[in-house]
């Protein structure tokens, strides 16, 4: 496992071919608040990568940089080997077509039905007959365990259902990079298990698919991750496999993994 102490400058050395996403010394501030303070890492193709860290450490900000919704103040971001830090919006629009993102609360369009939400990206980029479209939407709904929900209204859905519809929408265009922003937060254990198995299933079904998951659910992280990235104080503190993280003697990592209130991370503010 590499940690910031042993590898403070530059990204971790890639062992695969071109990394799907690469951050190099990325900095981002909002007003006086520095969120990313020289973040560097590489995500390998075909892996499930988990980004973990305490709340407010900039995990969602990191994912928003990956999709170009936010742009860094300095540093370099590469997606599919292409430098995109300050790429024009038209370039980002093309890049995003190969990405699927599941937002924290689903971010569903509440003026549309569930089916229309899932059909939205398909309508934008593909030409299908109404019957083909409806079949595709139903197939995606079945995939996330919500068959027959096409006509349901978004405000009537529970948080868990919203996330599942969000996942179906993220999968609509068969993306090569799937990003999950805290997919199991606020869900009961059964739904969390279902989402975990969906993440794993997607990885097996789609060859070459890379998944990036932001999560606080340590059990999910240790069970599903090919590689874990630990974000701390706006930097990549450590990265490695679940086995390496479990075996780590670093007090910061040990405290985070165990969920202990006492240690170098300090106690969470109640």
């Amino acid at each position: 496992m590499s940690t910031a102490q042993t590898q403070s400058a530059g990204p971790t050395a890639p062992t695969d071919s071109t990394p799907i996403v690469c951050f190099n010394n990325v900095r981002k501030s909002f007003g006086n608040q520095q969120v990313l303070r020289g973040l560097s890492f590489e995500l390998r193709r075909g892996e499930i990568s988990f980004i973990i860290g305490r709340s407010g450490e900039g995990k969602s900000v990191t994912i928003k940089h990956m999709i170009g919704v936010l742009h860094p103040d300095s540093g370099e971001i590469m997606v599919h080997g292409e430098a995109v830090s300050h790429a024009p919006e038209t370039t980002w629009i093309k890049i995003r077509r190969n990405m699927g993102l599941l937002f924290q609360d689903g971010a569903l369009f509440d003026s549309m039905s569930v089916g229309e939400n899932i059909a939205f990206p398909i309508r934008e980029f593909e030409i299908l007959t109404p019957k083909e479209l409806s079949l595709r939407v139903e197939k995606l709904l079945e995939l996330v365990g919500l068959p027959g929900y096409g006509l349901a209204k978004v405000p009537e859905l529970s948080i868990g259902e919203r996330k599942r519809v969000g996942l179906a929408r993220a999968l609509a265009l068969n993306p090569s990079l799937l990003l999950y922003d805290e997919p199991t937060t606020g869900m009961d254990p059964l739904i969390s298990e279902l989402i975990d198995s969906l993440i794993s299933e997607m990885q097996k079904k789609i060859p070459g698919l890379s998944s990036v998951v932001i999560s606080h659910d340590i059990q999910s992280v240790l069970r599903l991750a090919d590689r874990i990235f630990f974000l701390h104080e706006g930097k990549m503190y450590a990265s490695g496999t679940p086995a390496e993280f479990k075996a780590s003697t670093d007090p910061v990592i040990k405290q985070f993994i165990s969920g202990s209130l006492y240690g170098p991370l300090g106690q969470p503010i109640a």
Partner: protein
Amino acid sequence: MMEFALRGLESLGGLVRGQIIGLGRFTILLREIFFWMLRPPLRLQLIFKQFEFVGNKSLSIVLLSSLFTGAVLGLQIGKIFGIFKAEGLMGAATGKALALELAPVMCGFIVTGRAGAAMAAEIATMRVNEQLDAMEAMGVSPVSYLIVPRVIASTLMMPLLSAIFLTLGLVGCYILGVIMFRVDTSVFVAQLQWLVWVSDIHKGMVKALVFGFILSTIACFKGFHARGGAKGVGEATTQAVVASLLTILIVDFFISLVQMKG
């Protein structure tokens, strides 16, 4: 004393800086609006939906307010003109005021209050709930999908609403003139034709077109840059309405100046 003055200067500087940043963001949004207006896809279905929202749903308010605006304007003008025994001119004077100023400005106010506020609130809610981020993440420009149809529909519907306002306003004035001031219909129509020219109606339509563009771009801009939760949505909506109304009044003055010289 010196410290107090410095603090004052600092807050003034902050205010000016904020305004300049806001103006810069607005200019960037305007550039994006024109960029996506001239690019496919032309979202006809969404544009027609906005025609219905801006036009059809504002119609009942426009009909009612135009009748009463025309009537009250006729009442005041008729009262003054009555002193000179010139009540016959009340239709012409009301028509001139309605065609040049009142119809486009009042329609601008009505559409701002009804449709503009709703546009700002809807887009602001989508912003704070990450729906705009989701749209961008799917490779769909929110400017192309949400803002351009609203701007096109508002800009094109405003002259139509203004024409309806003018017509109904004149009907209101006519009814009042005939009932209260015993004005003869032929005199009313003759004076109207003599004083209100086609060019006056054209000038009013141009103003309505400009106001439609202004109110929709400001409403969408305020919604697009909303921050925070429900409070942010409320602030964006209020700011959209206030900024649109003030801009309409200021721009109206300058367009009138240009039209008078032209």
